[in-house]
Amino acid sequence: MSEEKRLTPRPVQGITTGNDLIQRGLEAVQRLSGRQVLSRVKDILPPPFEWVEIPGGKVTLKPGGYLKDYTTFEVKPFVIAKYPITNAQFARFVEAGGYHQKQWWTECGWRTKEEGWGWVITDTDDDVIYEPTGRPWTRPRFWQYSDWNQPEYPVVGVSWYEAMAFCNWLSSKVGTRITLPTEQQWQRAAQGDDGREYPWGNEPPSPQLCNVAKWAGRTTPVTRYPAGASPYGVMDMSGNVWEWCLTGWKTGTTDPEGDELRVLRGGSWVSDHDNTRCAGRVRGYPGYRYDSGGFRVCASAAS
């Protein structure tokens, strides 16, 4: 090496050869350690829990809310839970005191929970209105009913706020950001690349593929319909429970603060076929606690 070269600032390229191959290794190591971190979820939540890797790609959403027309989005690779969060899994959050720890909740979420918003029958007539009951939430609605609370059944009666609080608690336990999927991520995980109508393909729903149209009359265990899995193997994407997405309906925001209506996807055990399509989109007030509403979690592939 010449003297000048040795003492003047050395070009980085001169130091490293085979940069491309090293860059590949670096990216692989980043992915591997991300997976290692994410796999800790299985130590925290009871089974069944699996992450499914969804490759990046395009997804086309129907108009409605913030979308004025059919719109195609590019989605980066991510991982999503194979099943909706079950009662046994949500119980870990309840038992850990999650309903009493403000740090997991958004500002609106905490206020809504403290005020105990719920359906109230008015005195004057039989109208049911949604208003503060003064009784703070301490667990999901329907938590005590055996029709809904079986361990491997999806948690229901959780608002978007509770779903987000669960994600924040889990993120902190695992050490990486775990959140609700955006509706783009959700649809990509359900539909894959071929624009199919339903997660399993284009044939209409049947009792072998999913739980819709009150066939079962209630929710079912999250592992019951392997034949109805999406092209990536994600299960229960059609029917069983509506799934809260991160996305705001009116503006498309992914900011968790505020009380904007949020997107729900996938239809439920009650829904007719239209709502159970991969591309079906509805909206809900983030404080509503449906007997047909649950959620699943997702994370960035590079976390």
Partner: protein, 275 residues
Amino acid sequence: MAPGGRVLISGDGNVFKGLVKRKSPEEQELEDKQHQLAELEEELSQRELDLATLTAELQSCEQLYMTVMGWRYAELDAIRAQIAKQRLESNPTSSQARTEYTRAKEQARASAESAGEHPREAAPERFTPPEELRKLYREVAKHVHPDLAVDDEDRAIRTRLMAQANEAYEQGDADRLRAILEQYEASPEAVRGETIGDKLIRLIRKIARVRQRLEAISEEIAALEATPIGQLYARARESGESVEWLLERLAKHVDEEIAGALEEWAQLVRKRGWR
């Protein structure tokens, strides 16, 4: 100092006024600057050591990486190119298959070229400088650094010696470092007579040069840390793993990818055979 080696001290603990020559402002300034430079020299020698160590460590990490991973990625890409070829042959009119094959072939060629310089055998030893070597290097940098030169001639000598010192450090050659140090200490630079003003100007220049060099070192270290190998190295250190262990894990992962690709290729060949 009194005869017999004792300092004469008055009752209130001050050194006898009669023995202390009052310093001129220039002398005081010179002393301050000398002090400042001494501190900077200390810092400079440490930072030069940091830079030389990181450079040598990354070089040896890179050697190791290419020995362990180079041929694996080359092999994986070669199999992938074969898979793309099979796909194109079973669907010769597909422009997507053709593009894929062209891309895969180019990738395989580039990987083979990068990996080719690094045979898979004989993993090189990692650079692990013993404390004695580090200390010696610091000493050399403190005394020999070109930015402490008095004139162009001196600077040329120092530049040459410093380059030799860097090489010796990377090779772990303590004897050579010692020789460089002795060689420079024997040079006549220090004995030239000059006025206080000359000395002061020279000191100020030296201080400015050392500061510049310190900034340049920081930039060089940041650039090294930002390279892929620098990031891999940092990742291993942060998680308390050795680079060897990290590479072992990565190798296992790529071996699985190779096995998967081979299986896919075999299936394609079988499928075409049945037609």
